[in-house]
Symmetry: D4
Subunit: 152 residues, 8 copies
Amino acid sequence: MPLVGVVVGSKSDEPQMQETLRILNEMGIEHELRVLSAHRTPEKTAEYARSAQERGIEVIIGAAGGSAALPGTLAAWTDLPVIGVPLTSSELKGMDALLSIAQMPPGVPVATVAVGSWGARNAAYLAAAILSLKHATINDAYKAFRQKQRKG
Amino acid sequence: MPLVGVVVGSKSDEPQMQETLRILNEMGIEHELRVLSAHRTPEKTAEYARSAQERGIEVIIGAAGGSAALPGTLAAWTDLPVIGVPLTSSELKGMDALLSIAQMPPGVPVATVAVGSWGARNAAYLAAAILSLKHATINDAYKAFRQKQRKG
Amino acid sequence: MPLVGVVVGSKSDEPQMQETLRILNEMGIEHELRVLSAHRTPEKTAEYARSAQERGIEVIIGAAGGSAALPGTLAAWTDLPVIGVPLTSSELKGMDALLSIAQMPPGVPVATVAVGSWGARNAAYLAAAILSLKHATINDAYKAFRQKQRKG
Amino acid sequence: MPLVGVVVGSKSDEPQMQETLRILNEMGIEHELRVLSAHRTPEKTAEYARSAQERGIEVIIGAAGGSAALPGTLAAWTDLPVIGVPLTSSELKGMDALLSIAQMPPGVPVATVAVGSWGARNAAYLAAAILSLKHATINDAYKAFRQKQRKG
Amino acid sequence: MPLVGVVVGSKSDEPQMQETLRILNEMGIEHELRVLSAHRTPEKTAEYARSAQERGIEVIIGAAGGSAALPGTLAAWTDLPVIGVPLTSSELKGMDALLSIAQMPPGVPVATVAVGSWGARNAAYLAAAILSLKHATINDAYKAFRQKQRKG
Amino acid sequence: MPLVGVVVGSKSDEPQMQETLRILNEMGIEHELRVLSAHRTPEKTAEYARSAQERGIEVIIGAAGGSAALPGTLAAWTDLPVIGVPLTSSELKGMDALLSIAQMPPGVPVATVAVGSWGARNAAYLAAAILSLKHATINDAYKAFRQKQRKG
Amino acid sequence: MPLVGVVVGSKSDEPQMQETLRILNEMGIEHELRVLSAHRTPEKTAEYARSAQERGIEVIIGAAGGSAALPGTLAAWTDLPVIGVPLTSSELKGMDALLSIAQMPPGVPVATVAVGSWGARNAAYLAAAILSLKHATINDAYKAFRQKQRKG
Amino acid sequence: MPLVGVVVGSKSDEPQMQETLRILNEMGIEHELRVLSAHRTPEKTAEYARSAQERGIEVIIGAAGGSAALPGTLAAWTDLPVIGVPLTSSELKGMDALLSIAQMPPGVPVATVAVGSWGARNAAYLAAAILSLKHATINDAYKAFRQKQRKG
């Protein structure tokens, strides 16, 4: 049963998120991948977010470029923590997506990470950090990673 | 029966949109005003957009600041033309809203106008220009306005 | 008889607008393509915009990079709805064109879409949405497109 | 025993974070407030972050302006989830802090929220969403807040 | 007979250009002031620019905010040197006007000066420098100003 | 005897300015090319600017990237009209050079043109427009170019 | 005999630099203040920088807004370490000055500090850090300041 | 015994700093290179900075991209002058790193140089300028370089 739902706004954004999936695997975190657009398929996106918690999802990662409404839309329809990854798909190369995802209005938080590949990786690590509060095996894996990393 | 639905993302954004209402009045365009948030009240926003056309609405104007997902969310749930007004409510003073509203992904268009009060006024004029294609009295009012304006 | 006039600021901008033409075709919207510069050929541009309505044009799409005065200039000389597409032709890669097109002063609206290829496509979809208010066959084509798109 | 540590980079940043404290109170989340600078008091900051988990802290919120290294520095010294709030204290009014906090390198995630007062509030809500995964009473309070908010 | 035409895009921009007029006076340069909008009054603007040279104008100064198409439009319709002053009238406070005025396409030059009051003053000095090539009394006045200034 | 002095900040910037030279040739404007740095060779730069007028130079074009102090420094040491071309040589790709050249303080004007190749071409056209006020043959060549260009 | 020369680009910039003077006093560093403009008074500026070292100056601090060529110009004429403070005097409020000062070409370094008052203070501290390498009493004062600061 | 410590935030940043090492060699300045991350290896970074002075280091150069906390963190733990080089490693290509490094809070100065290769070279030259105050042979080498450079 997946703990993390990774949602990308468009099929063409999938390659940018392979690192997210790889790191979730490394941390032993079960996950699922969906292609859902806040703008093109709003009903499916709403349905996904609304039902995520009852299906056992604990953290949602949304990745999108340009207007990048996906993470905010997922956050609008769920109470789970949502992590937003700004992608570089548009001609403005991610600054648009960063502002769209970061500047959420009060009451509906999104946890924004860095633009592009750095953010794709940190989205997985942030999910691990959050899930570590509750899941001992994830905590062990994440702590081991951080400890090894601190040794340089 | 209103032809234009003016939607603001937050109660505190209403004053910025008074000029929109004033100009719609001047052009003789019936309209309604709603406070709906893409993030805080996603279901009401979806419901509003989905039912707008059958209620006779022909153009929707959405105004929001920061992430400013409102116009795009309205556009996601309706096939009507949607005009987006980037407001200056967040600390980044409108550049965030402009990029969020303008950088819509292909397939779900939003007609973006200028940030703040200029856009609030042009949203009404753009609605008038669009409705002029079909409604003779609006066409007369809008043409008269433009003709007088061209005289300086 | 064309309903939509697509105007590009320079011959070298034409390739960026092929998607606009393709989508207008798909929506069954007759159109014409012109190369006209607000700065290099102001008289021809003014003449085109001034005569567009009497020739049956209902929506004008203007695409330009850099200063990108084309959409605003077209809007200055016509009362028809004008859609502006910011292109990436200059060294500043579209941010200049986006601000130039979006920040129109009150009284002369332009409907701005996204920078580059996303905007080139959405200009056609926005034209379709506007024309759908009046033309049943375009309405059918656009609604079919949106409905299929919403199914993902 | 506090679950959330709220850290501000400078005494003068405290007023901007009062809303964070108010909302944490509303959600029934025990918390503590510290003034610690990544740059001026690096040892105290490191010590705080390193010992936070053993003292029972589960989420750290760091708020700073300008270079805004505080959230990233806290994240460097702890494995707990860290939320970063970009403040507007410098002359560049928050764009600097947003980029500094959001653009964390892979391996050390920070959950960035909006610039200034919007982010100050969402930092508390994001902490509530994260803690809701584990703490039933926080989950109840946060769900009640979101449910009420969705009603508009 | 005026040598310099100062054109502002809107009545409300006039106060920002008082310094231009004052300095032109100081340099003994005859001038005239017009309020003309590239967007609202395109015909009058074109007419002004087209007839300027035959009326004895040698340099045109255009000042506008936001899309700021005025200097470029004047340049499109005249072969005289045109100086563009980006004003801060829009919500984006001049960055939009600077990019709009500076990023002119090849073939239609505009001499851009600084945003706001600095540019308003330098537009007059630049006009003086240009006219000094031909008019001895302006040359004397401008050289005297620069010489005194260099003494600090 | 050259009428226009074209100065580039660095040997590696020369290719970006070939179009300037080509257009000056086309307009029949004699010119010279110098490599001079405001920062690396301040004395030579000052000497060049100070002596330009007595050597018969009437317009100076300065092109530089990054800090791009060259046009402003030339303007500091001469009373001739100086045209500044922001180049894309630095990692920030011209936005830095544009702001450095455009934001000259009151009293020392620089005529800024577009970033990179557009500006390289317009620098020559602007020089032609300025020199046309005084030199009949340049006026003929420039008017012929503009007239032909206006025909599209 | 002053060790540090503080140079501001304009009389009106002096108030922004009072904190620099205060901190230099606190550190026991003798200094002098000059108003010199790279653009308006280039000869005086060159003369100041060229003669600074022989007069015993060891560090120069240059502060300017807008094009902000002052620090780079000082660095061009001296081999001493030059610290640049971007001020907020222009309408673009310091982003222009930051880029102008930071983006110096290779071969002529400037040590850039933060925009405005933060930078005005850090310019003095950076001068103290540099001078501490050689002057024991400054080293004592600076170390004492840093040590006290680290205690919070 | 090295006088300059060059620290890069990540192994992949090393190639961007080769020019720094080459120029330090040319100036006859002994140096060492370390890979240390403010975020991934905070303890090693703190230890390096804290012990640098007693090991004879007189200037530290820190280079990093994105959040780029490295120079500021080094400056937090040492009283030595720290030079910061913003690198282009992140998707935002150096603007993020520039703001992060330049906008240091008062009390902990960092000497920021240009983004990328220009800054990599100027970091070495700035170190040379600083060390020239105390070390005669470095002073000779740096003065010779500058003198030769001034000859063009």
